[in-house]
Each structure stands twice: as C-alpha cells, then as structure tokens.
C-alpha cells in the first residue's frame, strides 16, 4: 500500500445530481478540478485560503470552501455548484433576487454568495440577524457592498418561507 507518490486517484461523486467519475491527482483541490479539468468555471477562486468564500459550493448539502477541499476527499460525495441551480431557463429564486436587488455588480463573488445563501435558507428559511450573519460571514464582496446582497437574500427568504 505504498504506490507512487503522484499516483492518480479515482473519485466517484455526484455533481449537480449527475454521477461523475473523476481521476485526479491527490493534491488537486476540488476547485481546481471543477474549473480546470471539467470546465465548471462558475465556482470562482480569489484568495485560495478560505478567507473570501468565492469558491463556496455545497458538499453533501453543507457549504465548504472548495479551494481547501481536496478533490480526492470528496469520494462518494454530493456536490452542488452554481451551475446546478437554475432549471433550464428558470432562475433559482436567489438568482432572480440577486438581479432584482442589484446585488451582483462585478459578479465575481456572486456564485459563492448564492451558494452560501442557499445553504443558509435551506437550513433556516427565515433567519434572524445572528443566524443570517453566521451563514454569510465567510463570503466577502469587494465591489457591491453588502446592502443589496442582504436585501436579495431577505427577498428570497420571503418567498422561501411562503
């Protein structure tokens, strides 16, 4: 059980509901594999140290920083990315609210924010302020400021709890 150092690893996982088989290097991050090996570039990298949340996606329903998760660790897991959110032409309510509230300016933090917000509202459809911050505090927006983003998420929450 001591094969070559750079032996590749086979990983079975579901990406946006689709069973996927990947062969990855042990040290490749999930972010890198999604973006550069299979072209799901909706998930963004920005700090590559878990500080900004741009790379947030859902692993088994919970938000994680895909820049810090090794792809090989995700074996057997369920991955949801921004690409899996809309149904055909129909935007997810968070996506729609982000547009309506002007919450996506440069748009770079948007996919990560939307995924973090989805995790938050999946668990707590109508969060109080502390829960809201706990759910969103790992995502940084440099450009839009947080006001319209909070409005978008709150707007989505209103529809969510209906």
């Amino acid at each position: 059980m001591t094969p070559e150092a750079d032996e590749m690893v086979a990983v079975e996982l579901a990406i946006n509901g689709k069973p996927t088989h990947l062969v990855v290097r042990p040290d490749e991050t999930l972010l890198f594999v999604l973006r550069d090996s299979i072209g799901l570039t909706g998930t963004k990298g920005a700090c590559l140290e878990g500080e900004c949340g741009s790379c947030t996606l859902l692993l088994n329903g919970a938000p994680v920083n895909s820049c810090l998760v090794l792809a090989a660790q995700v074996h057997g897991g369920r991955v949801e990315t921004i690409e899996g959110l809309a149904h055909g032409d129909k935007l997810h309510v968070l996506q729609r609210k982000f547009i309506e509230s002007g919450a996506a300016q440069c748009g770079y933090c948007t996919p990560g924010l939307i995924m973090a917000a989805k995790a938050l509202l999946d668990e707590t459809p109508n969060p109080d302020e502390e829960t809201f911050f706990r759910g969103m505090e790992g995502n940084i927006c440099r450009c839009t400021g947080y006001t319209s983003i909070c409005e978008a998420i709150r707007g989505a929450a209103r529809e969510w709890s209906r």
């Binding site: 991050t29 500080e51 994680v64 920083n65 810090l68 090794l70 090989a72 660790q73 790992g138």
Partner: protein, 275 residues
C-alpha cells in the same frame, strides 16, 4: 498517494506504517492553505474525513468526549460556552464545516482558538498508535513549543475530553466583525469546585494557561481587588511579541483587560456575592 480509510483501526494502521510520508488531512483548512501558498507539497495524504465516528461527540459521566475529527460546526452547537463561541469564531460557516479540533490541536498555532478554549476546560487529549495503544495527555502538557506538540509522527489524535458543566467565558479581539485571527483571545473556565482555569492565545509561542493569574483568584475569589490583581498578574504569564498583527504592548494590555472582563462575567454568572 492517497489513503482514505473508513475505520479508525485502518487509519491508525496506515499512520503507523507510513508515518510522516502520508500527511493526515481532515478539513484541510491549515494544510491546503499552506499548499496553495506553495509552502507545502505533501507526498501523499491520509484522509481522516471518511473515518466512521471520528467526528462524533459523545457525552458520558459529566464529560464530553469528542472525536479528533469533530468539526468546529459540531463544537459550536455544544452548550459549553467558551468552546462553542471559540468554534463559532473560526472562519465562516464553510470553514467551520470542515476545520476540525484535531487539526487545530496539531497545528497548535499560538492563535488556535480551539486550543485556548480547551485549555480553559482543562481538557485531555488522546493520542493513539496502532500497536502502542492510546495515551492520554493533559492539554496543558501537550504544547511543547512554537507549533510543537506531544503528538508523535506515527500517532493520531483520536479524542478530546473535557467537562460538561463548567461555567466558562470567551473573548477574542480581532480587527473586524468576523473571520478573525485573534490578536488576543482569552477563555476562562470555572470548575464546580471553584477553581479557575485561565487560558490565552496569541500572547506566547503556544496557547497558554496563566498560572499566576489563576493562583490569585483561586486563593481570593472574585472580589474586585482579586480580579484586578489577577488581571495584572497575567503579565507574568505571557510573553507577547510585536508582529504585523499587533504590538507586544497592546497584547499585554489586552491580556489584562480580557482576564478582568471575563472574570467579571463569570462572577455575574456564578451570582456569587463578591466577598
């Protein structure tokens, strides 16, 4: 090479055989940061995230027993204030879902918030080896020096034990509202017998206990005078440095401030009339 055991036995076995060649990885929130910065290129990994039960928290005989891979998210839900708040102060939710207490204890950063909270709870840590078995080390003896610990290269952290019903308090000074590396943090635990355990982070080479300060409140209780004296005595327990995060002077002053603040907070909780 990548090993992904599902049982603890298997994990300990791989660890014993491959030792430092396979870097144990749990949440990766320390390791992968270092990899992404180009500071670390491990030859292979021993993935602990699939080991059944290693992330669980159990509760027996008035103590919690949490697995080495229990996440900050899990700890943040425990009714042990200092630990829960420390865990909640780590990163954002995505970090807390991945980062583990075992990783925090192994990284042993002077700013390790989990380490500080557990020191204030006088926790024990269980270090296990496939054939030598398990040894339990009191956390106050576990930190040996700057990022050096009692863990050997062929062992894993399997469990951390700490009391359930102590009165505890926590405060971390950071430079913003969340996702802070502590500039100074402090945790205090009071055992049911009235003994105080004062721990601080980012004021020495390791997370530390503050024996001088403890001695005063253990002796005199929580009078205004004793609190002030204990807070002042903490200066003898710490050895802060100047770095790009803060000055030694500020860290020293904040150690004093936080010890006093948290002792007062505990006094309010205990509702013990000031003597």
């Amino acid at each position: 090479m990548f090993s992904q055991p599902t049982t603890l036995e298997e994990a300990l076995d791989v660890r014993a055989r491959c030792g430092p060649d396979l870097l144990p990885i749990a949440g990766g929130t320390d390791i992968v940061v270092a990899m992404n910065r180009g500071q670390l290129r491990p030859a292979g990994f021993l993935d602990l995230t699939h080991v059944r039960g290693l992330d669980a928290v159990r509760h027996e005989n008035g103590r919690y027993e949490c697995g080495g891979a229990a996440t900050h998210a899990t700890l943040s839900r425990l009714p042990v204030e200092a630990l829960a708040e420390a865990a909640l102060s780590v990163g954002g939710p995505a970090i807390r879902n991945r980062g583990t207490i075992g990783g925090n204890l192994v990284t042993a950063s002077p700013a390790g918030d989990g380490c500080v909270a557990l020191l204030a709870l006088d926790a024990d840590v269980e270090l296990a080896h496939a054939s030598r078995g398990r040894r339990v080390v009191p956390l106050r003896e576990y930190f040996l020096g700057y990022r050096k610990t009692a863990l050997l290269a062929d062992e894993l952290i399997t469990r951390v034990r700490f009391p359930k019903d102590w009165i505890t308090a926590w405060y971390k000074i950071g430079k913003r509202g969340s996702v802070n590396i502590s500039v100074v943090c402090c945790a205090i635990g009071r055992s049911p017998t009235g003994l105080f355990h004062i721990a601080l982070g980012s004021v020495a080479a390791t997370p530390i206990r503050a024996p001088h300060a403890e001695e005063i409140v253990n002796r005199d209780g929580l009078t205004d005078g004793a609190i002030a004296e204990a807070a002042d005595a903490v200066r003898r327990d710490i050895s802060p440095i100047d770095d790009h995060r803060a000055s030694a002077k500020y860290r020293a002053a904040m150690s004093v401030t936080l010890v006093a603040r948290l002792l007062r907070r505990i006094r309010d909780r205990v509702k013990e009339p000031a003597r």
